[in-house]
Symmetry: C2
Subunit: 348 residues, 2 copies
């Protein structure tokens, strides 16, 4: 399949499931009293988002259950023992966790915009944003409890969810810590990316296996799939920041570089002897010109750092896809392979 | 038993369990990487605290299992079916949730001191405090998962924990909302206290019943016990703020009044025609004199508002204790009655 055809297949699969996920979010997290709290909690979820993680969760469930892709009732979904479970609840739960982390991260990183709208702490206030995130946090656990799976599996899903949240906090702490450190090594960066970003993909890919009653090896393989493609997703983000135009990015090209953010690219360049901190004079993305960015990127390209990151992301995706061997051969299985490819081919 | 003897019995029961709870917190939430994150997460827990809620949880377990009070191994505790469970994990989980809510509340309320030490966002910074709270949040769920109870009970405990956290967020949102409202009615205040404060006592009293395998009626009765004595606890706090000296309180007497906080006392006084907002000129606790507070309290006393609050707290405690009828008649049962009395007799 050509790259364009593949991208279209992935986007159409995600789109089909997105509508259903959006409707399910409204069902599982309805507006209620106190009104302002629930408005603020729902604000970012209503502002959009690709729903990549819930789509991955639903596709994994479809592949495992070997049902016609896109044809199943996710609320009464066939598990592997002839019973039905509500996998949509699990998908919503993962998206609610994602939303909670974005709300709190935006406060911590002092980011004012998210998904084209003011961040929650800007639209409301910091107090409300903290509380909205805290509310989504427990709601995600409540919603994960509604799969109707036998207690042992339900508890397994809750365990993965809780550990995932702890990891995300640890990853965010490492990320903040790295800002003031000059001796970060690539392995540490990869660990940070695993904890902060990849574990939620791993949860999205493995929780449906837990809920449907798959064996431990299958659960573990799908967790590894999510982990590797999640890491690749973040590395590709780092590449895009340098290689896409500001227009396509919706923010200043090279802003990671201006803000002295550590990425595999800058760590590789540093190890090649490049004075990464000296590549740009500006310390604010607003003070940098496109020509300056162009020159800095040329220097990173010259020492092979961007190529290095691209190769690394490709290796991670290949490794991730290998783990999909535990799935039956069906359409959803192929979509999950394509999703992995898409994560490092997307242009935004 | 005299009031003094009762207080001594309660304090000694809490004290005996506190040492074990403190050791268990260290076991279940050890320092680890990223170091600063876990230091900040453990900071408030290490700063002390009465451990009333975990003590209540352990006492409820002892009463239910009908074991010699204080003599049991809480990590291998007899359940109601001849197996053993780790009730200490559940006790630690509840205290960890309490700690998370205090850390985030202190950011939201801009309170600089807690338990005699700087609040976490003061000792570290706001970003770290948000993240420390988030870490404790998921850790509490992880720890609650370690009781070793059969999955159905484990999942039940997780459900109560998740719903409790949602309620606490809702209660905090109502409390913030009340600050700018003049039309709060007593029923709304009691609902806020139930959500913000009492549900965690209800969780502490009912979760051991879930974990030990008690029937639904017992679980529900113990939940009601916790709810009523938790409400009484908060109302007594409101009374203490007006009736104890600044020295005994460790903060300015009447600070709730200065800050125009709604309490059952001020709501009752307002309904008796008192201009509550006009009782004090100062709007900062530092600008008020003891004589001014004395006069304001005298006015509240004259219309019977403090007496009203005291009676209400007593009624709630009596109602709460009635629900303990589901427990066998033993020493731990009597301690739980005494704990309820103590919550509205304590002077700090």
């Amino acid at each position: 399949m050509s790259r364009n055809a593949r991208e279209e297949a992935v986007l159409s699969a995600v789109r089909e499931r997105r509508e259903l996920v959006n409707a399910a979010i409204d069902e599982d997290l309805p507006p209620k009293r106190p009104e302002r709290l629930y408005e603020a909690s729902r604000y970012l979820l209503k502002a959009g988002g690709k729903r990549l993680r819930p789509a991955m969760l639903l596709l994994t469930a479809e592949a495992l259950a070997d049902v016609e892709a896109g044809d199943a009732d996710y609320r009464a979904f066939p598990d592997l023992t002839g019973e039905t479970v509500d996998v949509m609840s699990a998908a919503v739960s993962i998206e609610v966790i994602q939303s909670f982390t974005l709300i709190h991260d935006d406060i911590m990183d002092d980011d004012d915009l998210r998904r084209g709208v003011p961040a929650v702490h800007q639209e409301y206030d910091t107090e409300t944003a903290i509380l909205a995130g805290d509310t989504l946090y427990s709601k995600a656990f409540e919603i994960m409890m509604r799969t109707g799976a036998p207690p042992e599996r339900g508890l397994g899903a809750m365990r993965t969810l809780a550990e995932t949240c702890t990891h995300i906090c640890e990853g965010q702490a490492l990320d903040v810590d790295f800002e003031t450190r000059d001796d970060v090594v690539p392995d540490e960066y990869m660990e940070m990316v695993e904890l902060k970003t990849a574990v939620l993909y791993a949860a999205a890919a493995s929780i449906p296996a837990i809920v449907l009653g798959a064996d431990d090896d299958t659960v573990e393989a799908l967790y590894e799939y999510g982990l590797r493609v999640g890491q690749a997703f973040q590395i590709h983000d780092d590449v895009l920041d340098l290689t896409q135009s500001s227009e396509e990015l919706g923010k200043q090209r090279g802003s990671d570089l201006v803000e002295n953010k550590k990425t595999v690219i800058t760590l590789h360049a540093r190890d090649q002897g490049v004075d990464v901190a000296g590549l740009l004079d500006a310390t604010d993305p607003e003070d940098v010109t496109d020509d300056e960015i162009e020159d800095a990127v040329a220097e990173l390209e010259a020492v092979g750092s961007i190529e290095y990151a691209r190769d690394l992301a490709e290796d991670l995706v290949a490794e991730g896809k290998d783990h999909l061997d535990v799935l039956p051969d069906n359409e959803a299985h192929r979509r999950l392979e394509q999703v992995a490819d898409y994560l490092i081919e997307r242009t935004y």
